[in-house]
Symmetry: C2
Subunit: 278 residues, 2 copies
Amino acid sequence: MEIRLAKSYGFCFGVKRAIKIAEESPNSKTFGPLIHNKNEIERLAKNFNVGLVENLEEIEPKSRIIVRTHGIPKDQLKFLQSQDVEIIDATCPFVTKPQEIVEKMSKEGYSIVIFGDRNHPEIKGVMSYAKDPIVVLSVEELKEYLPKLKERVATVAQTTRKFQEYQKIVLFLMEHKKEVRVFNTICNATFENQDAARELSKEADVMIIIGGKNSSNTKQLYRICKEHCKDSYLVENRDELKPEWFVNKKVCGITAGASTPNWIIEEVIEKIRKLEYN
Amino acid sequence: MEIRLAKSYGFCFGVKRAIKIAEESPNSKTFGPLIHNKNEIERLAKNFNVGLVENLEEIEPKSRIIVRTHGIPKDQLKFLQSQDVEIIDATCPFVTKPQEIVEKMSKEGYSIVIFGDRNHPEIKGVMSYAKDPIVVLSVEELKEYLPKLKERVATVAQTTRKFQEYQKIVLFLMEHKKEVRVFNTICNATFENQDAARELSKEADVMIIIGGKNSSNTKQLYRICKEHCKDSYLVENRDELKPEWFVNKKVCGITAGASTPNWIIEEVIEKIRKLEYN
């Protein structure tokens, strides 16, 4: 049986980069969980003594503090800078970008519209760099804020939002404002994983999707695969694999959710190979 | 019978303004026809001695030259400025705006996309203020130019284009470029006349649409009125009115195409009132 990996799967660029930074910064502490994956955070703690602080008050002098992928609000960064600590910035560059944009656009006098979720850490960070930003998830919400906006509006989007939804926000702004400055800050990583899973599931006899059973992006991958390959299975780790899934199969496709580290994927592949020979 | 005028009809703001400027500048010459209306140009010649030159070579020293509503290309303006003539600028402010925008955006390093017709005088003028502008009428055309564009694009539209078509251009740019700076330079005058004609035709027993029979915007007004009022008639002037149209009618609605001067409209109204009493 041939095992094929999706062209794009698992961690995105920003998460891979943050983990590499953490591995290269032993005996440090992340301010908030580095990424949304408990197994990986435990591994970093065990192998590299990378700890975790949840509040600014817990931070001790002379410590090394890693800023996580989502970034942090400006006032928190300023506080860290004022302390006697080493700051290691693992903010995803795709998140730093909208922070820089809204700061610059606010200075140039534009009203700022952020398309995203105001409760998400990434957006809390981005908001903190803007002057009086409007944060919305839909045109309906935006309508209410319209009278507050100047004729010159600059807009950015949360990196994980759907592009088509962002377009609706822009079309609405265009209808009502003289100048709309549109920055496409959406990151394609999630959609690349989905496209690659779709493609692979068309060729595979059996598809294994690795990821958390309560992870929404993993479940989305499973749904996509199931559409094209009826023998699609979602597993959290190698222990859930069943030998009968692979009987008389020629091609086994593998993909993984955005919060699944490579070592879990490798363990699954190794186990599938073993099942074959037993 | 009550005669009701549409809330918006005939000349737009820019044309009214240009005619006022011409009336206040006797013994001058327009460089190219001031507006697209022969009757009105004849009236200005007769009453105010406002003449016409078609080529830069014809311009005589010490003359007063009126720049028409559509504006002119930058090199022609510079030539005029270098001559011993008085320049009177009747360029519509809604046309001056995109000229200024593309000039500024070119200087700031943006690629320029103009949504409009490269053969229209307005767009020839706007183009002349941009560095290497791309001028397109559709997404299909734009696709071919995509590789030529930088990641930062600024876009303007011809004042008379449909907003929905401009939105398509913007959506396409958003999909392919990091920053799209959208300036809404479309003028609503044409659409305001159409909306007002639609509204009035729903209330009227008979609708009179005044304008050239080969004028596309007048014919469009006629089509809109005919939809809601079966007794709709398109006339070029008062001589075409027929008494039987008004028999037993309670409300007569009046609208006029964008190239119809007020004095023609007034003559028509006067004639309708006379027909009633005869």
